[in-house]
Amino acid sequence: MTRLPVQPGEVLDRTKSLSFEWNGERLTAFEGDTIASAILANGNRILARSMKYHRPRGLLTADFWDPNAFVQVGDDPNVRSAHRLVENGMDVSAQNVWPSLDYDIKAANGVVGRFLTAGFYYKTFMKPAKLWPAYEKVLAQFAPGGKVDLTTPHMYHDKRYAHPDVLVAGGGPAGMAAALGAAESGAQVMLVEHNHHLGGSLLWGSDADRAAAAELAAAVTAHDNIEVLINSTVTGRYEDNWCSIAQRSHHIAVERLIKARAKMLVVAPGLIERPYVFAGNDKPGVMLSGAAQRLINMYAVKPGQRAVVFTANAHGDSTVADLERAGIDVARVVDARTGGNVVAAKGGSKSVEEVELGDGTTVEADLLITAIGWTAPTSLLNLAGDRPQYDPAAARFFSSQLPDNILVTGGIAGDGTTDQLVAHGRSTGQHAAARAEVVAATLQKLTTRAADYDGDVPSFPADNRQPLGRDPHPELFRSTTHGLVDYSEDVGSKDLFAAAKEGYDSVELIKRFTTATMGPAQGKLETVNTVAVLAEARGETIAEVGTTVWRPPYAPITLGALGGRIFEPVRVSSIQPWHEANRATPILAGQWVRPEHYGNPDAEVRNTRENVGIIDVTPLGKLDLRGADVPKLLSMLYTNKWMQLPVGGVRYGVMCAEDGVVMDDGVTGHIADDHYIMTTTSSGAGGVWEWAENWLQTEHPDWDVHITPVTTAFTSINVAGPKSRELVAKLTDVDLDPEAFKYMQVRTGTIAGVENCFMWRIGFTGELSYELHVPSGYGLHVWETLLAEGADLGIKAFGLEAQRIMRLEKGHFIVGQDTDGLTKMPSVGMNGLIKLDKDDFAGKAELADSINRTDLPKVVAIQTTDPTIVPFEASQIVRAGTNEIIGRITSSRMSPTLNRSICLGQVLPEAAEPGSTLTVVMTSGERVTAKVMEHHAHYDPEGSRLRI
C-alpha cells in the first residue's frame, strides 16, 4: 500500500470506504478519492499505454488534463481517472491495451519507432493501391481511446439558460475573491470551478494556504448572491459573452449544459503546469510538481520512494518539503535557476530507475519531479479575440487585448502572494460588478418589455485596480536531449525538428503534419512546448513563431449534454384523438403528424368517388386578411388578377418568387367586405405569411392590410364525393342549392351547431366537395357529427394517400414535388394565369422574359403503355436508345378509379407534345414506353363531377 497516514489537507472521508474494480481486480478507496488516486493508493503505478508506441504510462499531472490517465468506466470511454471520483461498484479498465495493461504486444511499435516518425504514413502504402484498405484496417486497430457501448441508453440531460451579472470562471483564491467582490457590490454571481473543491492551488499548498482557501470558500458559499457550481467548466465564450458551462454536478442530470449571457465574464483559471522535454520524460515516475503535491496533500498517496526534484520555481521548492513529509527520500534537488538540468530519465519501461543530470552525474530514483514553468490557459480569451503575447521574462503568455466585458485575475493575470492574488481578485470582482451594472442598465433601457430605466445609463468606471506583478522565471522547454512533447499523440521533439526541416515549419502546418496538440488536452500541456521546439528548430523566438488558435470547448463535453433534451415540436389537429383511436397510419409532414390512411387507401378513394369521404386538412395554411387593400396585396403575391373578386367568390392562384419559380399555390376566398381568407400549401404556410408581411412592411407600408395566421384556429375538413351535398345539408344552415352556392364560392354559417364557420366549394379531389372550416375548439365535434350523420350515406374518412391519388387522377401538381427549385411558372402549363398587364407582381420581370422561352421543361401527364406498370417517382425519362436524360416522373400511382398506372412528370419541350412517346427507365434498369397525355387530368378532364 502506498496510502499515507491522514494528511492535514486531504479531501478523503476515511469513514467511508468504497470498492471498485480495476481491470477485474477489486480495489478499495475512500470517498473523495479519484480513480487514479485510488489505483495508486493500492500500489499500482501504470494506468495506461500510449497511443502509438503503447508505452506504459503513469500519472503526469494527476488532474483533469493528465494525458496518461484515460480509463474506461463501464460504458463511459475516455474517463479522466485523475479527475473522476470513485463510486462504489465502478467497473474501471485500462484502454488502449492488448491483451493487457502489463503485457502489450503493440509495444513492439516502440522498437521500430525510429522508422515511424511523425507523418510516416504519408510516405508509404501508396502502392499497390489495392492494398491500402488492408493497411487502413490495421491502422484503425491502433485507434486510441475507449469503447462505445451500443446498448447505452439515451440518458436524461437537462439544460438551462442563465443571465448572471458576473460569471467567474475558476474557483481558486482570485476567482473566489472576485465572486465575493462582485457579490458584495450587489451583483448576481455565478462561480464555476472545474474541480471538485473550491480553492485551486491552495488546496495542495501549505497549512496557511488551506486556511485561506477554507475561509474564502465559506464566505462564497454563504453569500446569497453567489451560485457556486463545482465540478463544472466554462467551456466556451461566444458572441456577446454568451458562455457555455458544462455542469457535471447536478443532481438530476449526469451532465448538463448551462448557457449564460454574462454581463461580465471574469476569467480566473489559474495556470497549468508544463512538462519538460527530455529523454525518457514519459517513464512512469516522472511527474510534475503539482501532481506530487496533489497526490500527497489531497489524496494521501505516496507517489514513490526516492526522488529527484528539478525545480525552477517556488512550487518546485515547496514540493521538496511535501515529499519529505511523506517519507520520500529526496535524493537530489536540481535547481534550474542555478544552472542545473535534467538530461534523461532512465530505467525499464515501467519505471524510472535513475536520472541523468546536466552535470553528468546519475542519481538513482524512482520519482522525478519537474517544476519548470506554466502554460496560461487563455482559451476563453482567445475565443473573445485576444491574441496573447509571450513574455520571455516570465516565460509564459499574457492576454493583450480583451473586450471590455471580460476581466482576468489570478495566475493568468500575474503573480503574487495569496493575499495579493485575493486582493486583485476582489477588486476585479468589484470592478466587474460596476461594469455589469452599466451593461444591465443598457439592456434594460433598450428592451421594450423591461421596467422603465430612469435617467442616463452610466459609463464604464475607470479601472483603478492595482495590477499584479510578474515574477521572473527561467525559460525552460527542452533539455539537451529529445523527449516527448505530446504525450497523448506520442510526438517527440525529434519529430518536430524533422517536420520543420521538411518544410512543415509554421505552427499550424507542424500541428497538422505531426498531430502534436491534437489530442485530448488540446494543447494545454503541449502547445507552448511545441512552439518552443519549433522556434528552436527554426532558430527564432517564440514570439516570432506565434501560437496556434485555441478552439472551443475548453474541456470536452459529452454529446448527451450538448444534445440535452430534444425539443422537436409536434403539431396535431383537433381531430387527432379520433385518428389515433381509429388506428390511422401516421405520416410526418414537417412538424405535423397526419393520417396517411386508415388501412386501405384505395378503398378510401373508391368510396369517396362513389359515396362521400371526409379528410382532415387542418394543416392547410390559412391566413385571415383584413383591410381595404387586401386585393392589392393578393395581386402582388399571385400572378393572376384579384381586384374584382366579389364577396362570396373563391379563386385559385399561383405565387412565384422574384425569379419566376413557382413558390406556392392555393385558393383565396372573399368572405366579407375587406375580409379574405387565403389558403396555402401545408408546408408553405409559415413562409407565405412572412412573404406577405415582407411586401406589406417593406414595399407597401401604406397599404391597409392585417394578416392573422389562422391555420389552426380553424379545423379544416374536406367533405368530398357525390353525396357530400346531401351530407353537409344535414348539418348546416347555409343554402347548398347548386345555384345559390356554386363551385368556387364561399359561404359563412353554422355547422353542426357551431357558429362562425365558413365553407367553400373547391375540387382538389375532382369530386363535388365542400371544405368546412370550423373553430378548432369544436373541430372534433363537427368531424364526429359528420361521421354519424353520414353513416347511411356510406361515409368514410380518408387520409393523405387517398387524397394524393385523387389529386393525381385530376392532374393537380404539388409544389415541391412536381415542381422543383428551378421550375418557373411557364413550365406548369398555366400561362393563362400570368397577367403581365398588371402593373406589378412578384416575379413579373422574370416571367415577362421566361414566358417566351421555348426551352423550359414542361409538367405533363404521362401514362405508361402497359397500364400495370407504375414507375417509381423519380424514374428518369431518356431519349430512346441513349442514357441522355430528358425528363423524369414526378408523381405516380396505380389509379383505383381508372385501374391503370398514372403519372405526372417533367420533360423537355421536345418531348412534351401530347401523344409523344417517352422511354422511362425503371429502377431495375428496364426501359418501358409511355405516352404524354393531352390533359393534366387523367380523370374527368372536363371537371363535370365537381360542378354538379
Binding site: 473586450p403 439592456l443 464604464f460 422574384e658 415582407n694 414595399e699
Partner: protein, 134 residues
Amino acid sequence: MFGTRSFSFSFERSALMMLVPCPHCGPRNNSDLRYVGESHARPDPNAVTPEEWRAYLYWEDNPAGSLRETWYCRAGCRQYFTVTRNTATNEFENHPLPGNKTGAVDPSFHYVSSSVSPSVPTTSNAAQETETNS
C-alpha cells in the same frame, strides 16, 4: 442572398448566439430572428432589362466589413428591419451591448428602419430537405 430575391436556404438553424438589435423589441438572440440578406432596392419591374433584373436577383456585395442587411424578428415582434453589421467582426453599428468593443458606451444608441426588398422565406419543411454538404 436569402432570397430577397429568390433563393433561400435553411434558416431555422442557430449559429453564433449574437444579440441582434431589433428596433422594436430591443436586443434579441439571433436565433429568434431570420436573416433575410443584403438589403438591395427593388428595381421597377417594368423598366428593367432581364439582365438588370437578374443582377438584382443574384449579384451580391458581400463585403468583409460594413453591410446593410435585413432581418425579420420572427419569434418576437414580426417586423422586418434593416441594420448595419460588420461582417468581419459581427458587430452591429451602435451595438446594443456595451463591452464587446473596447471603448466607451454610446448612450445615444438608436436604430434605423427602412424600406427593404421582399424575400421568400422558406419553411422549416422545405428547409429540412435542403441538401447539405457531404
